[in-house]
């Protein structure tokens, strides 16, 4: 059913029309074979070799390599398995390879090619996988968690991952779900901290806590020790000699007090310090660095973007159209006062000249247009540019008002276009009541 072909010392497993490159140890000689195979199987029992292979593959500069489906044959108990696509299992793996390879083809070269930074790679990786980035608890990581894929780019600097991912969250590429909050040593960013109660005066850990007893009848207050009767286990008040029988009736314990055996200081609130197990730095709680751990997931917008189904123009913000559509939908469902409505105003430029003109000129023209439009729309969200046309949403007004705005816009637009150009270009515009859409 499948066969392993040995070719130039490289083993290839073909199964269900998929070629798996079998790697036992990384070497640069593999490069050629890598591009021609659809997937990789790591077949070593050496953890170091295993890790090296994973690292080399996932941090490879070629998109076709770092996104490649990677399976392993032996469970080597390496934390690096989270960067792979799992244990090799004939049918299951085949299915996965097909899906992943399909998606890799959909990753648009154009959007990400020049900008080959880590976050972009991550987005591509997530897009071709389950779209989820779930950190996993791990004691060997300094922050106690390891991140699939992106973790390989931040070995020993895991605390920086969250910051990097925050950029993607801010521009709506990733959604987050709170998972954990962890404290790190201020000095070395390690999470292996030993918390200890100490004396606020001399920092000694040699403390003793004592319950304080309040005898109601005579208002005597003292550490429990002073109430202990040496002959029996009864409590007896040293001030008035009465026996304390019943907590809540004869006496209570309103608090407890620490005594420091080193400097004899008394206090109620001990100072908690966090000693770092790696660098011995003693952190006060205030100086600990808090890092929030999230589960991440690609947003719908990011998925569309990655597939190129999301219309983007380089000079405009990417999500404008989507928001505009939502606003438009909202306006259509809205109930207006009598005579009022919202209007969709479209202006487009057509003409052969537009294809010949310098793109800088066109862009600056639209930039100026946007300035003009700003005076007529409530906010920037009601303005969207798609190629050489713009759409404006005029909110809640009378038809006459909308028509006045329409005329002013066209007038201003004509002023912006210089005469020699104007004659070669046609301006089309349309004003539509949203109710009629």
């Amino acid at each position: 059913m499948f066969k392993v072909v040995k070719n130039n010392n490289q083993k290839i497993l073909t199964q269900g029309s998929i070629d798996y490159l079998i790697i036992e140890k990384w070497s640069t000689a593999l490069e050629g074979a890598l591009t021609s195979c659809k997937a990789v199987i790591i077949a070593t029992k050496e953890v170091a070799w295993f890790n090296d292979i994973v690292l080399q593959l996932r941090t490879h500069k070629d998109k076709n390599v770092f996104l490649k489906p990677v399976f392993y044959k032996y469970d080597v108990k390496s934390e690096y398995v989270i960067h792979t696509d799992g244990l090799f299992e004939e049918d299951l793996s085949n299915e996965m390879v097909r899906t992943i390879v399909d998606k890799i083809q959909n990753v648009p070269q154009l959007a990400f090619e020049q900008n080959f930074d880590v976050t972009t790679r991550l987005v591509q990786f997530l897009f071709t996988r389950e779209a989820k980035l779930v950190p996993v608890k791990n004691r060997h990581s300094k922050i106690g968690y390891i991140y699939p894929f992106i973790g390989l780019y931040f070995t020993n600097k895991e605390y920086e991952i969250e910051k990097q991912l925050q950029f993607l969250v801010n521009d709506e590429t990733l959604d987050v779900k709170l998972k954990d909050k962890i404290q790190l040593c201020n000095d070395c960013h390690d999470s292996y901290l030993i918390y200890k109660e100490t004396c606020p005066k001399c920092k000694s850990i040699d403390l003793e806590a004592q319950d304080i007893i309040h005898h109601f009848t005579c208002a005597h207050v003292a550490p429990q020790e002073q109430f202990m009767n040496s002959e029996d286990d009864n409590l007896q008040c040293p001030k008035c000699d009465k026996h304390l029988r019943h907590i809540g009736i004869d006496y209570d314990k309103p608090s407890s007090v620490y005594n420091c055996n080193t400097c004899d200081h008394n206090f109620q609130v001990s100072q908690v310090l966090a000693e770092c197990h790696s660098c011995n730095h003693v952190n006060s709680l205030e100086e600990l660095i808090e890092v929030t751990i999230y589960d991440y997931e690609l947003t719908m917008k990011a998925m569309l973007l990655a597939e190129g189904k999301y219309q983007v123009h380089k000079t405009e913000a990417k999500n404008d159209t989507l928001v505009f559509k939502q606003l438009l939908d909202q306006e259509r469902k809205r109930h207006f006062a009598k005579g009022h409505s919202s209007y969709l105003f479209t202006v487009s430029l057509t003409g052969e000249l537009l294809n010949i003109l310098d793109s800088n000129y066109i862009n600056s023209f639209w930039k100026d247009m946007k300035q003009v439009a700003r005076e007529y729309v409530v906010n920037d969200l009601c303005y969207v540019r798609e190629g050489n046309s713009i759409r404006l949403l005029l909110l809640d007004m009378l038809q006459v008002e909308a028509e006045q705005l329409q005329q002013k816009m066209i007038y201003n637009m004509e002023l912006l276009l210089s005469d020699n150009i104007k004659s070669h270009i046609t301006i089309e515009n349309k004003l539509i009541n949203v109710d009629t859409l």
Partner: protein, 435 residues
């Protein structure tokens, strides 16, 4: 109207001295002798001895400075957080610096725990103790006592502020006479300009605290070390087991110290300023509480001092007896006096009442003169002179009525045990044990 005044004057000219004393027996026997004659005699003695007293003071101060003892300042209270920062400020200005500051937060339900821990962190206080459950002022003070390391303990209220030499001056008397077990500070009203109610209290404090206590202290019958500002010898206070439950625990601990054989001293130069209630409604509540404690502690709890026994001391006897006499018995006598006048002089009330008012009016100003002579901040207190006219009504009527109500309630119903000032758990047991 015109013929009324000559008729009024004529009446008093014809009455004669013995009848005058008969009609105004209350004033002549009690008020005039106690508050005018004795005050002026003591002032006279003070004036004559001033050189000797100054020498004694200087010597004591020298000994004190040489020894430089640690003083533990304790401040128990509930919801006093808002005053704490100002208080630490006031204390950091003190001429005497060898003190530790211990704050006890007795079950506050506001930001006090946060403020306290914060001040401690910044080194402004040495120890911040907190009871999650309120135990009452006495237990809070006793809690602090457990951790005091000083030779002397100064007890303060959080809402007070202090003259720069107040802490020093309140401790120096311990070096005048080693038999002194406790020293009371001079409490004055800080907000005396804020309302008429506060002004009248300011005058009252000058009379009863500043001058009154110089006199009682001199006579050896000084009876109450104000909780707002008092100093105690550590060994004495531990030997008597600290404070017992209040209200009125200030007076109570003073009696306990007297009973165990120590002198109690008043130091007029150790000045502490406190805020007095600005409204009569608040003042009435405060006074009801104070006055009830007289019955509870002077009459009931410490009744043994009135009987000859092993610990019997004349000065303690007089101290309490004076207090009880001038408060409780005179209060009753005053009502008897009213009844006496109403029955026997019902026809001459139009003469008797104005004369009474005149007498008290004149006495108020005569007393103010003695206050002026004793005072160490005369200029500021001149402001109060014009309000002295109201004192006749303030002490003569208002305070008397409040006092009567308090005594009546406490004497017959032991109302102070129900005072929300103490938690129920403590009051219930105290009542059972007759404390």
């Amino acid at each position: 109207m015109n013929h009324l005044i000559p008729e009024y004057l004529n009446y008093w000219f014809e009455v004669g001295i013995w009848k005058f004393i008969r009609i105004f027996w209350y004033f002549v026997l009690f008020e005039f002798t106690r508050y005018i004659i004795i005050d002026y005699i003591v002032y006279g003695i003070f004036y004559l001895n001033r050189k000797k007293r100054q020498d004694r003071w200087d010597l004591a101060k020298q000994k004190f400075r040489l020894e430089n003892p640690l003083v533990s300042i304790i401040i128990p209270g509930k919801n006093e957080g808002k005053h704490l920062y100002k208080l630490t400020k006031s204390l950091s200005e003190q001429t005497y610096t060898n003190f530790e500051l211990i704050i006890v937060d007795d079950g506050s339900d506001d930001d006090t725990p946060i403020i306290g821990e914060n001040l401690k962190k910044h080194g402004l206080i040495d120890l911040f103790l907190r009871n999650d459950q309120r135990g009452g002022k006495a237990s809070a003070a006793n809690f602090a006592l457990q951790f005091c390391k000083g030779k002397y303990i100064v007890h303060l209220d959080a809402d007070c502020s202090f003259d720069r030499d107040a802490i020093e001056n309140v401790v120096i008397p311990f070096y005048i006479d080693e038999n002194i077990g406790a020293v009371g500070g001079n409490v004055k009203v800080r907000n005396y300009k804020s309302s008429l109610c506060a002004k009248l209290q300011a005058i009252e404090y000058l009379k009863t605290v500043s001058v009154g206590r110089i006199v009682t202290s001199y006579l050896g019958i000084y009876k109450i070390i104000s909780g707002a500002f008092g100093a105690f010898r550590s060994d004495v206070i531990s030997s008597i087991g600290g404070w017992d439950i209040g209200p009125g625990l200030d007076g109570d601990i003073t009696v306990k110290i007297r009973k165990s054989g120590y002198r109690v001293y008043f130091e007029p130069t150790a000045v502490c300023l406190t805020n007095a209630p600005e409204k009569f409604k608040v003042l009435t509540k405060q006074r009801l509480r104070w006055d009830k404690s007289i019955i509870r502690f002077r009459v009931r709890k410490h009744k043994d001092v009135y009987f000859p026994n092993a610990n019997f001391k004349w000065s303690t006897f007089f101290s309490l007896a004076e207090n009880v006499f001038y408060n409780v018995i005179l209060d009753v006598l005053w009502w008897i006096y009213i009844i006496d006048i109403c029955i026997n002089y019902s026809g001459s009330l139009q003469f008797v009442i104005p004369m009474n008012i005149t007498l008290y009016f004149v006495m108020s100003y005569v007393q103010m003169c003695s206050i002026y002579m004793f005072s160490e901040r005369r200029e500021e207190e001149k402001y109060l002179w014009k309000y002295v006219a109201f004192m006749t009504f303030y002490t003569g009527m208002y305070l008397r009525i409040v006092r009567t109500i308090a005594y009546y309630k406490e004497f017959f119903f032991k109302r102070s045990f129900e005072d929300p000032w103490n938690p129920y758990k403590s009051s219930r047991l105290a009542k059972e044990h007759g404390l």
